[in-house]
């Protein structure tokens, strides 16, 4: 099966395939060990895939059981690496992390690179509102280089709005190059509600699987233990 196919590959192709799997193969390693490493990696990936698919959307519909060896031919479609615009985009991933990607117009970037007064480029993460109170705006900066173009950002608070600014500092002065739209981090704590205030509500929350969701870490709740004690297992 997979082993047989691997054995038909040349040494160079084996090493190339190992590299696509992220394996670091020491130079001169015997061919048999390279094949074993690849097989181990494929098996590990299969286990991880099973875990992911089962936890998530139960999707086995794309699965190639005992995965076929992917083609070693490089993909011929090359996308633009740049759209030659200065912009920054912020995407919410989960309650704790956001993803940002950005681009700086070629002329601006080149100007910064040759400007002796250019000091730094950084991202300013701006927290604009916290929950329903009116806490003052807070922000923090993340230094980035001129070659960076994406970043995952840990967002400190839930139920807050954030946006991000791409800023260059030249001769001590900050210049906002681009500003993203805003995202709001979701709550992870169940809101206090009438539901949790009465036993009937707790029974319904328990029957809805609140305890299991808390155990799985998807939600947090101060009423967890109470709803657990009120609900009989299904």
């Amino acid at each position: 099966m997979i082993r047989e196919k691997l054995e038909t590959l040349s040494d160079d192709m084996l090493m190339e395939y190992a590299a696509t799997l992220g394996l670091e193969i020491p130079e001169g390693l015997e061919r048999a060990f390279v094949i074993e490493s690849i097989l181990d990696s494929i098996e590990d990936e299969q286990d991880e895939r099973d875990e992911l698919a089962a936890v998530g959307s139960e999707e086995k519909k794309y699965t190639y059981p005992y995965a076929e060896l992917p083609s070693l031919e490089s993909d011929e479609i090359l996308l633009d690496t740049s759209y030659n615009e200065t912009r920054i985009t912020l995407m919410l991933r989960d309650p704790y992390w956001a993803y940002t990607y950005w681009e700086i117009r070629d002329s601006e970037r080149k100007a910064m690179m040759v400007d002796p007064l250019f000091e730094e480029l950084f991202l300013r993460v701006v927290e604009s509102k916290r929950g329903e109170d009116s806490s003052p705006t807070e922000n923090f900066d993340i230094p980035v280089s001129l070659t960076d173009d994406r970043w995952y950002i840990n967002l400190p608070n839930q139920d807050c709005r954030y946006h991000i600014e791409l800023i260059s500092r030249v001769r001590g002065e900050a210049h906002v190059l681009a500003r993203s739209g805003s995202v709001r981090t979701p709550r992870v704590m169940m809101a206090s509600s009438e539901t949790a205030a009465v036993d009937e509500g707790l029974v319904l929350l328990g029957l809805s699987g609140v305890s299991e969701m808390i155990e799985s870490g998807i939600i947090h709740s101060k009423v967890a233990s109470r709803s657990r004690s009120q609900a009989r297992p299904r």
Binding site: E58, K61, E68, D75, D94, Y101, G181, E200, L205, R234
Partner: protein, 526 residues
């Protein structure tokens, strides 16, 4: 009086894959496997329940891309040819296993199954399964809803209002083309909800959507009936909440019914066990699964025994009975704390039933027969529930999905984040094109319509999903790159006024979904 209701919801979706340049294209098998193992068995299940007058109401979301493929004559012909090869292989398997006591009955089972598939597909359904689902919809057995045009994970495009509108409006048009009316409900792809999506649904006249349990429970306020009743969003669109426990009971890893060791194993397949010359009718090139699986899943020891259909049938009945009992008990208990009867929404990927869990369609059949026998609960469609009962509570739902850890990381991580730089750029450029050429005609209009198709195709949630999970990641990357590349070529050509008619015509023939496509759905001023 009934203790409550159960509402079974199935999301049937596959990404659009149609490669005319190859006689047989490997990833087209996703469609073929789903038809053979899920859609045909489900239709036969509906037929049996219907003819036995078992009351059943199931909500099915048939994605626009799936409908486009099921209605496509080229893919229909290719699937028919695929079935003929399966029948040929089954004849050979019957002969090969003639002296293999444990496997011969299974070979005979597959021979009968594939012959029936061929007969049903050609003679009963006339190659078009969308019409078959529509038939059960018209009979009131199925409530057919729709989903985003190319099953985009909408939270990742929420910053592009025109794009969200385009996904929904195109889906609505596709639904009308397939079923002749507007849908009432909407399946958010991957149950991906972001605050504000309900405003788009309302704008298109959609009455309800489905939401993950935590998306509801983390809402403001938390729904007073937990997941046992729909609630109203502030704009009046209703949300039905997926029941966490019933989904775990069926598909929980290692604990769900579908994981029972008696059931047929998904992985072990003669496509990997037999000599290639024994597989020639069905396999050309790399080994892959054939659908001939002779082993049961087996327990933790890893030992796999020959599949025993009779034992599996028995277990199906036990699991169906267990499900009905548990749902009825939960409904009974919940009803004491509610003003209206509870409704338990059991929502799944359709392809779980049959493709991943071979016995799944039989389980569905046994569940509805069990519900009829037990009599304390009924199946109901969401729209009927909304017609019959008040939805009093107003809740603002929370960002959520049914992906890993409940939010967006399945569709946004280091394996797939590169997609959005390009997919978002295509969105922006498509909006720019639509605004620049609001009244295009002729070749330019054709080009803009194809650009809109390519923009939407690049957004399918399937591609980042398979990049993340490692199933054919290169294929997912290829599909995104191809769509973006096609879009960019049109964008650049329109800017230079130098479009190749021959190239465009070829592309229109290949990616021929949504023939009604109107690029103006991307206009900002409509």
């Amino acid at each position: 009086m009934k203790a409550g209701y159960v509402s079974l919801v199935l999301n049937a979706h596959l990404p659009f894959i149609r490669h005319l340049e190859h006689d047989r294209f490997p990833e087209e098998r996703w469609l073929f496997e789903a038809i053979t193992e899920t859609y045909l068995p489900l239709l036969r299940t509906f037929e049996r329940l219907d003819s036995d007058d078992v009351p059943f109401r199931i909500t099915v979301s048939l994605s626009p891309t799936l409908c486009a493929m099921l209605e496509d004559e080229v893919l229909q012909a290719r699937y028919k040819a695929h079935l003929e090869r399966l029948v040929e292989l089954s004849d050979r398997e019957v002969a090969r296993t003639a002296n293999m006591g444990e496997f011969h009955p299974l070979a005979l089972m597959y021979q009968e199954l594939f012959r029936q598939d061929l007969s049903d597909f050609v003679e009963v359904y006339d190659l078009n399964l969308v019409r078959a689902f529509d038939y059960f919809g018209k009979r009131g057995r199925l409530e057919l809803v729709t989903t985003a045009a190319t099953h985009a994970f909408l939270p990742n495009y929420i910053q592009f209002p025109q794009d969200i509108s385009s996904q929904i409006e195109t889906a609505m048009a596709a639904y009308r083309r397939s079923f002749g009316l507007n849908p009432q409900g909407f399946w958010l792809p991957e149950l991906g909800y972001s605050p504000g999506l309900e405003d788009y649904l309302k704008a298109y006249g959609l009455k309800y959507f489905f939401l993950s349990s935590h998306g509801a429970l983390l809402g403001k306020p938390s729904p007073k009936y937990g997941s046992f009743a729909p609630f109203s969003c502030p704009n009046g669109v209703r949300a039905f909440i997926r029941d966490y426990r019933s989904s775990e009971a069926v598909s929980g890893k290692g604990t769900g019914y579908s994981s029972d060791p008696v059931y047929r194993d998904f992985y072990r397949d003669i496509g990997f066990d037999l000599a290639l010359e024994d597989l020639t009718p069905i396999i050309e090139g790399p080994r892959t699964s054939t659908g001939f699986k002779y082993y049961s899943a087996g327990g933790e020891s890893g030992e796999k025994k020959p599949y025993d259909p009779a034992a599996a049938d028995l277990r199906v009945k036990e699991h169906a009975l267990s499900f009905v009992q548990e749902v009825a008990a939960a409904a009974q208990e919940a009803s004491g704390s509610m003003d209206e009867p509870p409704v338990i929404v059991a929502a799944f990927e359709a392809e779980l039933f049959g493709h991943w869990w071979f016995e799944g369609p039989k389980w569905i059949e046994a569940v509805f027969r069990g519900i009829k026998e037990r009599g304390s609960i009924e199946s109901i469609s969401p729209s009927t529930y909304l017609d019959d009962y008040e939805v009093a509570q107003v809740v603002e739902p929370e960002f959520s999905s049914w992906g890993v850890n409940g939010f967006g990381e399945t569709w946004l991580d280091s394996s797939n984040d590169w997609v959005y730089r390009h997919a978002h750029a295509a969105c922006e450029r498509m909006i720019e094109l639509a605004d620049r050429f609001p009244d295009a005609l002729g070749l330019r209009e054709r080009a803009l319509n194809q650009a809109a198709r390519e923009t939407l195709l690049s957004q399918a949630s399937d591609w980042p999903y398979i990049m993340k999970t490692g199933n054919s990641p290169q294929f997912g990357e290829h599909q995104v790159k191809e769509s973006i590349s096609n879009f960019t070529r049109i964008y650049d050509s329109l800017s230079r006024n130098a479009l190749s008619t021959e190239w465009l015509t070829k592309l229109e023939k290949k990616n021929n979904l949504f023939p009604f496509m109107n690029y103006r759905v991307f206009c900002t001023k409509r």
